[in-house]
């Protein structure tokens, strides 16, 4: 296929006057299984194949995508014409930061790629997980969705970049509904991996571990009491800390959004205590891990907040040029039907030196929030996170669970109220929606907020 792409690109370079041209081909074989209460309602083999074409001409972008591979020249010409049409309305021409063209083959780090696993083993794995969940009498209904993909992605640009990826990922998502008396409650769980393959289910995320985690959340919801509304000391676990990092702070550090956020005027300033550092980086098991982004830029670790100071932003080549900084590998596209845009990968707070016990011992009354169901933020960093697992803290001890609640606040205000950062570290993997879906992780250590977060 690379030959066909190279030929089409060569034709375009000879026939079209564009500043930049990029072809991104994708050919993935996917398996989708959905087990709902004993029945596989989805049992699907899928082939996803097509080309994304992006052209920068006269300072404007044109994009086309197609799965008709027989006439790529036409699709490139279409993207070129779109760029030309958009350019007429453009006052400021788009320019790209310089990069060194790269030729590389990106190999998978997976030990057992999903494609190498017999489908019977996948079925057996999901059935066993369902059985473990249903052994608990409160469980009324279960839905387990599994998806994996294996295949290739090729990126070619008129600047000479030629990168070929061996693409592999797997996703497992669970939604369980429980009932006790008249009370109905739900618990969700998600696992997403690009670096660990099927081995993840045999090591870190065995069915026993996952089922126990889901059921713990479900029982906490069923037995939970409604929390008091108001502002109390909050200790947040890695998953909640992560969702705040991602939703309320991470998006503000995506350079295309920064300009309209409070971060614009806070660059280089102290916005959190000096013991607080938040990074966008490669993490072990991170769902956003990759070697290059979809513009062929090597992925670099950055510190969004370093020792409390707002320091670095995520950029693509366009915004790297606008802000006068080095591209850092954050241009990502969902699939061949989308152009790349600035996205997070793995957004995490870095660990400190507190133990969990030290963190809660002097709290007379507060809340410990562990896991979420949905979170959302505004560009002014106002956030809302639905809590699906949380507990009361009374006189320095974790006591009753709380149910169906949420926490909210203004993240840049809440940052100032951080009083302790734990020495532990954890992440959760999931999806981020910004018009397109991206694989992401978020996490950090346990952290304590004395104010700045409202519960209820």
């Amino acid at each position: 296929m690379q030959d066909v792409l190279e030929k089409a690109l060569e034709w375009a370079m000879n026939n079209l006057k564009a500043e930049y041209m990029e072809l991104r081909y994708e050919n993935l074989k996917k398996t989708n299984l959905e087990l709902k209460d004993g029945t596989f309602v989805t049992f699907t083999g899928k082939i996803q194949r097509g080309v994304a074409i992006r052209v920068l001409a006269d300072g404007a972008w044109g994009f086309s995508s197609t799965n008709r591979l027989e006439n790529l020249e036409k699709a490139i010409e279409e993207a070129y014409k779109l760029a030309k049409a958009g350019a007429k309305a453009k006052r400021e021409k788009i320019q790209l930061a310089e990069i060194k063209p790269i030729e590389d083959i990106v190999k998978s780090k997976m030990k057992i790629k999903p494609v190498e696993v017999n489908i019977d083993d996948k079925i057996g794995h999901l059935r066993e997980l369902e059985k473990l969940l249903k052994e608990d009498k409160v469980v009324k209904s279960t839905m387990i969705r599994y998806e994996d993909a294996s295949g290739e992605k090729i990126l070619l640009t008129n600047e000479g970049t030629k990168i070929k990826w061996d693409v592999n990922y797997l996703v497992q998502y669970i939604w369980t509904t429980g009932k006790e008396g008249d009370k109905l409650a739900a618990s969700r769980d998600s696992i997403g991996q690009v670096d660990y393959g099927w081995e993840i289910f045999e090591t870190k995320e065995t069915n026993e571990v996952v089922a126990q985690r889901v059921l713990k959340k479900l029982h906490a919801q069923l037995n939970g009491v409604a929390p008091k509304r108001g502002e109390f000391p909050i200790v947040a676990g890695p998953i909640i800390v992560g969702i705040i990092a991602h939703e309320a702070l991470g998006h503000l550090a995506e350079a295309d959004l920064t300009i309209n956020s409070p971060f614009k005027d806070l660059m280089g300033k102290q916005i959190a205590p000096e013991f607080v550092t938040m990074s966008e980086r490669i993490v072990d098991g991170g769902f956003g891990n990759d070697k290059y982004d979809d513009e062929g830029v090597p992925v670099k670790d950055i510190h969004i907040i370093e020792n409390g100071i707002l320091k670095e932003l995520m950029v693509n080549r366009e915004y790297a040029h606008k802000w006068g900084i080095e591209p850092n590998g954050h241009a990502r596209a969902q699939d061949y039907t989308f152009p790349p845009i600035i996205r997070m990968r793995n957004t995490v707070f870095e660990p400190g030196d507190w133990s969990f016990e030290e963190m809660i011992e002097d709290i007379k009354f507060g809340y410990y929030v562990v896991d979420f169901r949905g979170g959302q933020a505004q560009l002014n960093s106002a956030f809302q996170v639905g809590v699906q697992e949380g507990y009361m803290i009374e006189n320095g001890e974790i006591t009753k669970p709380i149910r169906d609640t949420s926490i909210s606040g203004i993240a840049i205000e809440a940052l100032k109220k951080i009083t302790a950062v734990g020495k532990d570290f954890g992440i959760e993997t999931g999806f981020c929606g910004k018009g397109q879906t991206a694989f992401v992780s978020s996490g950090g250590p346990h952290m304590r907020f004395d104010g700045g977060i409202i519960i209820g």
Binding site: F40, K46, I47, A185, N380, V385, S408, I454
Partner: protein, 441 residues
């Protein structure tokens, strides 16, 4: 397609072939400028075959005959690996379809230039309104879709149609105050988008937001706007109408048919042929004829919606609510065009009658609501304080409770409705609730 069905019958007891072709054109706006113009085209074919009650699905990005044959073979391989589903009855039989609505073909071949001009005009209009305005984000475009559903029982239905949309998000800067991002939009079946009205409405809201007011922790009257209403109900209430949840006993509406569950002012139905619908489909994704399904009428719960599979398992018929997930090929139960019936009062009257209360434009975190019991805890943002019948400024507050209590607190519904392109489409008026518990900030 007949030939492919015959080919598939060599492998399966029953099979269905669904072909979807989409063309999306559009432009997006970033920071007062048109950014990317795009055309995205995609063809997807989904094969669903059943042999000995075993289901197998395959999906390809093509409608080529030979590729489809290979996909049929792949679906067969999957079916052989799957276990029998003893609940399986059969794929749908042909039904009687309504006459399709006349569709505007102008969106089929519209050029992105059209939206470049539209976006340029909207940016200019917005920036002329106020020096502090920044057009933070926006999008304009059209989608044309064609679908063909055929099965081995004789279902054979082709549909085509499309629509256009435009949205604009503004941020206002005045002195040291930066408003949250506030947006407005329009969506129509044709290209008759009302850009001036979109700019006018969003500008009004941003100007309100220049003045920031505190909210109290109290019980107050709250008017919830269309976007906020559609997002909250889509997550907290609408899933409860699914027949699958009847079988699994996970809907709070179990055994409540013909019972009063909401204020008598509330009527909700799913009707793809409603005059404002963006999706006037005559058949669902399984080829079952669509119809108007009343969900709540004057506060009385009228019944559930079904797809072919769950309907037959329950011993009833599909209500034409089978919706296919194009990522996985699975067919679930969904809605085409939910309508919340309009009321009698104008929005301006609703506002002017409030001595002290709030107007909510958006909810943050509606998707964290619990569909299993209707509990929600959301942040009203953007929201506005109303004093003495006038909007005084923007505010933010938390609203938590249970949706089944909330729909009993309705005291008025506006006569204006808006189309929200969200989870299919939802057509909703502004709804006024009383004695709503809020936690102010």
């Amino acid at each position: 397609m007949e030939e492919l069905i015959r080919y598939g019958e060599k492998f399966f007891d029953e099979l269905e072939i669904a072909v979807y072709r989409n063309r999306d054109v559009g432009v997006n706006i970033e920071l007062n400028e048109v950014s990317t113009s795009s055309v995205r085209q995609r063809t997807i074919t989904v094969i669903r075959g059943i042999i000995d009650k075993r289901i197998g699905i395959s999906i390809i990005d093509s409608k080529d005959k030979e590729e489809i044959k290979k996909a049929i073979e792949e679906a067969y391989k999957m079916a052989k690996l799957n276990a029998p589903d003893e609940k399986w009855v059969s794929l749908p039989e042909p039904g009687k379809y309504r006459e399709p609505k006349k569709i505007s073909k102008e969106v089929k071949e519209v050029s992105p230039d059209y939206f470049v001009n539209l976006a340029t005009k909207a940016i200019k209009l917005a920036l002329e309104k106020d020096k502090g305005f920044v057009v933070a984000d926006g999008d304009g475009g059209a989608q044309w879709s064609e679908s063909l559903i055929v099965n081995s029982h004789g279902v054979d239905v082709f549909q085509e149609g499309g629509g256009a949309y435009f949205y604009l998000e503004l941020i206002g800067r005045k002195n040291s105050n930066v408003t949250p991002g506030i947006f407005e939009f329009d969506a129509k079946l044709g290209l008759n988008l009302e850009v001036e009205k979109v700019v006018e409405e969003v500008a009004q809201k941003v100007k309100w937001a220049y003045n920031v007011e505190k909210s109290k922790t109290e019980e107050a009257k709250v008017i919830v706007g269309p976007w906020a209403m559609a997002s909250l109900l889509s997550y907290a209430l609408f899933p409860a109408f699914s027949g699958e949840r009847v079988i699994k006993e996970t809907t709070p509406l179990l055994n409540k048919v013909e019972q009063k569950i909401a204020s008598e002012l509330l009527t909700i139905y799913d009707d793809p042929f409603h005059e404002l619908s963006l999706k006037p489909v005559i058949a669902d994704d399984e080829g079952v004829p669509t119809r108007k399904n009343i969900l709540i009428e004057n506060g009385i719960f009228k019944g559930f919606v079904w797809n072919n599979y769950w309907g037959k398992v329950y011993g009833t018929e599909s209500t034409g609510n089978g919706t296919r997930n194009l990522s996985t090929g699975g067919v679930g139960i969904g809605f085409h065009n939910i309508v919340i019936e309009k009321g009698k009062e104008s929005l301006s009257d609703l506002i002017s009658e409030i001595d002290h209360g709030y107007l909510v434009d958006g909810f943050q975190g509606a998707h964290s609501s619990n569909p299993d019991n209707g509990n929600f805890a959301v942040v009203a943002n953007p929201a506005f304080l109303i004093e003495s019948g006038e909007v005084k400024g923007s505010t933010v507050f938390m609203m938590s409770g249970n949706v089944y209590e909330l729909i009993n607190q309705i005291y008025a519904i506006s006569k204006e409705q808006k189309v929200i392109p969200f989870h299919g489409t939802t057509i909703t008026p502004w709804i006024a609730f009383e004695d709503v518990k809020i936690a102010g900030k």
